[in-house]
Symmetry: C2
Subunit: 300 residues, 2 copies
DNA sequence: TAAAAATACTCCATAGGTATTTTAT
DNA sequence: ATAAAATACCTATGGAGTATTTTTA
């Protein structure tokens, strides 16, 4: 009835051997079956592909063109099969990753560069999203993996901690407290604070609020910014001080200095998160990299 | 067992509908048959292409890649089918044409230009061959069509006359006989002749030999050349005169003049020839053009 | 006359149909 | 409760095998 790959495979063999018996042998079928299959192919095409006598089998013009194109089709099928298998193995694929500032300034670059070197077939798409936005984006499938402030316990989501960092105070470089090697949170009771905006820095803002409350005060937030850079710029401008993860110590931020908080009152967790039921082998593969213990930053 | 186009067609439908029942409807088969076909495809591939619950059908990464490649394969099969049919219709193909001087100076350019305009899909390959060489080349398949001196009666060969021309005498422009409007063959009895070489101009040489014998003399061949231009150059140089088909009258040949022979003692036939059993639709198509009656030259 | 393709027939594997069950929302 | 995929079972088409005939160089 309709043309199938079998017909193409058979015809390719006949076109190469120009001999039905030998071609049939190569295909591990009997010669009459092959004769019939080719006749049926010609019938479906509505044109002759071969001129045959009992002594000579030759390609017609149509046959010559058809083998060439049929071979291309067979090859394309092989490609499709191979790529599907590679995709299933996670050798090729696509990965949408969301990240927030602590991740991109911390463990993400290292995880990502290792992953990309060892998985060149997987296209990675990075999107900067604040923590809460990532949580919804993960569920909707907008992103496959999110790097966000932990903890994140939700049904159907698996997480792994990629960084656990102490807080530091970031001050204008000429601030009186900058002369001290370390600070207690209580020392900041009367200081003006520059913090991330409530809508985009929610989890971190809440955490700081709780810590300050534990220390017996409500922070006096005089300025807000959506971005880390914005916050640091405001600090450098002397508007106030901020709290940040210690990764900031490694950043060269003109006009600011960072000082550890003693005792280390809290460890900020950055986690990688993905849908537990993800069918994407790329995600599973990436998850391995995210779960490898030493991520460099934050452990010295 | 093995992957067939059916599987690709079915999967493409499911990937588009993301719904087995609707896809099955589109394919005019029942839903269970489709479910089984896709399962079998996944089994052959060794990987899942879809994640299905009774409420949701979604592509896996492998599935996403596989549809794309499978569609390409299906398209390539369509291309193969379409091209085979076009080739069978003679819309595309290849044509090896042999020609000798009388043809290229006569009817061939017109036939060829008409053919090529109306059959842009057929690649024409032209080879300059003398008549006898064309006859063997036709049989061996080296060329598909030959333009040669006729007649050519051989088993399995079909011919059509593309030009029937009178002979003219070609003389050095200052030759005494050049003053006459026409010549009788007998007038050339004592003239030195420049003719094509025996090995490559065999048929024409034999013809001229016979005509001269009828006129009561054996031509005194003082020079030979393999090419028409070579012959004309020798004539222009005053080495002797030659006989040629009247097409030469239309050529601007410096240093020579041509004069009709009266009475017209012979008509030289140029024929197009091809294998009668040729499977090439391009040949059949071309044969029509070669067989169209008025070819311009030689009929005024 | 001998090699090779085509035909005749037989069989069975499997694609596909119908009826039903399972499952997830 | 219901829509939809999976399963069970059955049927029959057609793909493939063996034996034989036809063809042509």
């Amino acid at each position: 009835m309709s043309i199938e790959l079998r017909h193409l495979r058979y015809f390719a063999a006949v076109a190469e051997e120009l001999h039905f018996h030998r071609a049939a042998e190569r295909l591990n079928i009997a010669q009459p079956a092959l004769s019939r299959a080719i006749r049926s192919l010609e019938g479906d095409l509505g044109c002759a592909l071969l001129t045959r006598t009992t002594r000579r089998v030759a390609l017609t013009d149509a046959g010559r063109i058809f083998v060439k194109e049929a071979r291309a089709a067979l090859h394309q099928v092989d490609v499709a099969i191979a790529l599907a298998r590679d995709a299933a193995d996670g050798k090729i694929g696509h990965l949408a990753i969301g990240y927030m500032d602590f991740a991109i300034n911390g463990p993400l670059p290292h995880i990502l560069s290792e992953f990309r070197i060892e998985n060149p077939g997987i296209a990675v798409e990075l999107t900067h999203l604040w923590t809460e936005r990532q949580r919804t984006a993960l569920v909707t499938g907008e992103i496959d993996v999110g790097f966000m402030i932990g903890p994140f316990d939700a049904a159907g989501i698996t997480t792994t901690v990629v960084a656990r960092e102490n807080l530091v105070a970031v001050l204008p470089e000429h601030h009186p407290l900058a002369s001290r090697d370390s600070l207690r949170l209580e020392d900041l009771r009367t200081e003006p604070f520059v913090l991330g905006s409530q809508d985009t820095w929610g989890p971190f803002r809440r955490l700081i609020g709780e810590l300050c409350l534990d220390a017996g005060f409500v922070p006096d937030v005089v300025q807000e910014s959506h971005s880390s850079d914005g916050i640091f710029d405001l600090v450098a401008a002397g508007m106030g001080m901020t709290l940040y993860v210690e990764t900031a110590r490694h950043l060269s931020l003109r006009g600011t200095v960072s000082r550890p908080l003693t005792p280390a009152i809290a460890q900020i967790e950055t986690v990688a998160a993905w849908r537990t039921d993800s069918t994407s082998a790329a995600v599973h593969r990436f998850a391995e990299y995210a779960s490898r213990p030493p991520h460099g930053a934050g452990h010295n």
